[in-house]
């Protein structure tokens, strides 16, 4: 339980006393008289405090102690300026009957661990971007499909091997490796090690930093790795002709480029 500051306790006691009709310390000057003595100058800005000390003065400044209390200077004669029996209605500057005791800044009485962070609503900010991206990719696929047909060659024939015979393009890197190394190395060891290293990258790479300048080695290795496969796929796709021998695309032409 948080401790309530002493001066607030005293002020609330005075207010309660006024409300129940018991004579308080003074004629409406009570809060003003009480405050300056023990003013530690920490919790309440001095300007607000002074505004509250002016009886009936500067109501717009919302002198805290003046809320809901009878305006002492123009107080009704019957009670001799002492508080009326019931708390007056609509007495505050904005017609409020409640009082603002104090404003407590977050962090002063509670330990704030998580900062709010800079967040935005998913709707509309993220959904709009996703929707646009989905529209764009649909339009692209549709237009591409309108102009370029998917290949359909002759019926499958086991007795007629096309030359060259190529795997789907995403496996052409492997096929390319097979022309260079023993199947045990090209078909098993290299892709196996690459795949396992890829899957276990988070456990191999112990560097906690996300900044590119701290990750030169990881970025270099991965770039070489990705380029390795990309170059092999490009060679397999465009630089391999009859008998899977090396050729230039401008010699053989690119007529089968969309036979994917």
């Amino acid at each position: 339980m948080t401790e309530i500051p002493e001066h607030l306790l005293r002020r609330s006691a005075e207010a309660r006393a006024r409300a129940t009709g018991a004579p308080a310390a003074g004629e409406g000057e009570a809060p003003a008289a009480a405050q300056p003595d023990d003013d530690d100058g920490v919790t309440i800005p001095r300007s607000l405090l002074e505004a509250s000390q002016q009886p009936g003065g500067a109501p717009a400044v919302a002198g805290m102690a003046a809320y809901g209390t009878p305006q002492a200077g123009s107080g009704p004669a019957g009670g001799g300026g002492v508080a009326t029996a019931l708390p007056p209605l609509m007495a505050g500057p904005a017609g409020n009957t409640h009082r603002l005791l104090t404003v407590v800044k977050s962090g002063s009485i509670q330990d704030v661990k998580a900062s709010p962070g800079d967040k935005v609503h998913v709707w509309p900010h993220l959904l709009a971007a996703e929707f646009t991206a989905a529209l764009f990719i649909t339009a692209f696929t549709l237009v591409f499909s309108l102009f370029i047909n998917a290949p359909l060659l002759e019926l499958a024939n086991h007795n007629e091997t096309p030359n060259p015979s190529k795997a789907p393009w995403y496996f052409l890197g492997l096929q390319e490796l097979l022309t260079m190394f023993d199947p045990m190395i090209a078909g098993v060891t290299i892709p196996g090690v690459a795949l396992i290293l890829l899957a276990f990258a988070p456990y191999v790479d112990k560097n906690p930093s996300l900044r590119p300048e701290d990750r030169k080695f990881a970025i270099s290795i991965q770039t070489i790795h990705l380029m390795f496969w990309a170059v092999l796929v490009i060679i397999g796709s465009f630089f391999r002709g009859q008998g899977f021998n090396f050729t230039y695309p401008w010699d053989t032409g690119l007529h089968g480029i969309f036979h994917l």
Binding site: D118, V120, V122, H125, I137, L142, L152, F171, P212
Partner: protein, 266 residues
């Protein structure tokens, strides 16, 4: 309305009356029990939707589709230049492939005598058959590319680091499943391209030591590609691999949120 109040004897003009009638119909519909039972509070189709923070949250929370998302994300996470939308596009292409694939299934029989003829008649006899097949084909290649690029993007951002290590592993699985889906689909047209590409691909599989030959035998349903292979790969392509990849995707998306949203900023 102001017009009618000033001169009550003159009827409002036709466009105005049409607009009023439209508004009344819309109000009637949106007030109906039927409508409010479909669109939960915060839906933009509900009457009185306003662009308030509360409704922005409801849009996400009260939608079965959108609630994959959190209500709020880090500001940098909505920057297209950070993610390039690659993960989302991969998922969207998967949906597009599912839809076009279901269409194709209506016209395709996975037997060695019917498959190729079915595709040919799909081209010539079926309305939009060729277009849908083209879209399925190109979207499949595109998905291989977007998944690959998504993997590269995630690596370069270091997003596989703690606490997202396991989600990276799931992602590598998804990359392999994507390749397998593409590869199994490659055989289905049953043309020379399909037969020999898959022959080359599965021959490479046979080099795997210990179990390579056995795996190849099971996948092909024999020593070489034939009618059994076509049926097996069809079932793999339209049912089993999609089933598996959906499970992995569910884990992948769920972990993205559990691991605190996407990584960064750098």
């Amino acid at each position: 309305m102001a017009n009618t109040l000033e001169s009550p004897d003159t009827k409002p003009k036709l466009p105005q009356r049409l607009q009023n009638a439209q508004q009344q119909a819309a109000d009637w519909m949106q007030d109906s029990q039927f409508w409010t039972s479909i669109f939960r509070p915060g839906s933009i189709f509900r009457k009185g939707y306003t662009d308030s923070p509360r409704n922005r949250s409801y849009v996400i929370m009260n939608s079965v589709l959108y609630h994959l998302h959190p209500v709020k994300v880090k500001r940098h996470a909505v920057k297209v230049s950070y993610t390039l939308c690659l993960g989302g596009l991969s998922f969207f292409l998967f949906i597009l492939l599912t839809i076009t694939g279901i269409f194709l299934m209506f016209f395709y029989r996975p037997t060695d005598t019917a498959a190729w003829l079915d595709i040919e008649s799909l081209h010539t006899q079926v309305a939009f058959g060729l277009l849908v097949r083209n879209m399925h084909r190109w979207a499949a290649h595109l998905m291989v590319i977007t998944v690959f690029l998504h993997m590269a993007r995630v690596f370069y951002h270091g997003a596989y680091k703690a606490p997202r290590e396991f989600n990276w592993v799931v992602g590598v699985m998804l990359l392999q499943l994507t390749l397998l889906l593409a590869f199994t689909g490659y055989l289905l047209p049953w043309d020379q391209l399909a037969l020999w590409a898959v022959t080359v691909g599965t021959n490479m599989m046979g080099f795997t030591p210990v179990f390579g030959e056995q795996v190849r035998f099971v996948l092909l349903g024999g020593q070489q590609i034939g009618a059994e292979t076509l049926l097996r790969w069809y079932v793999l392509h339209v049912l089993m691999l999609p089933f598996v990849i959906v499970i992995f995707m569910a884990i992948h998306f769920w972990r993205v949120r559990k691991d605190g949203g996407i990584s960064g900023p750098l």
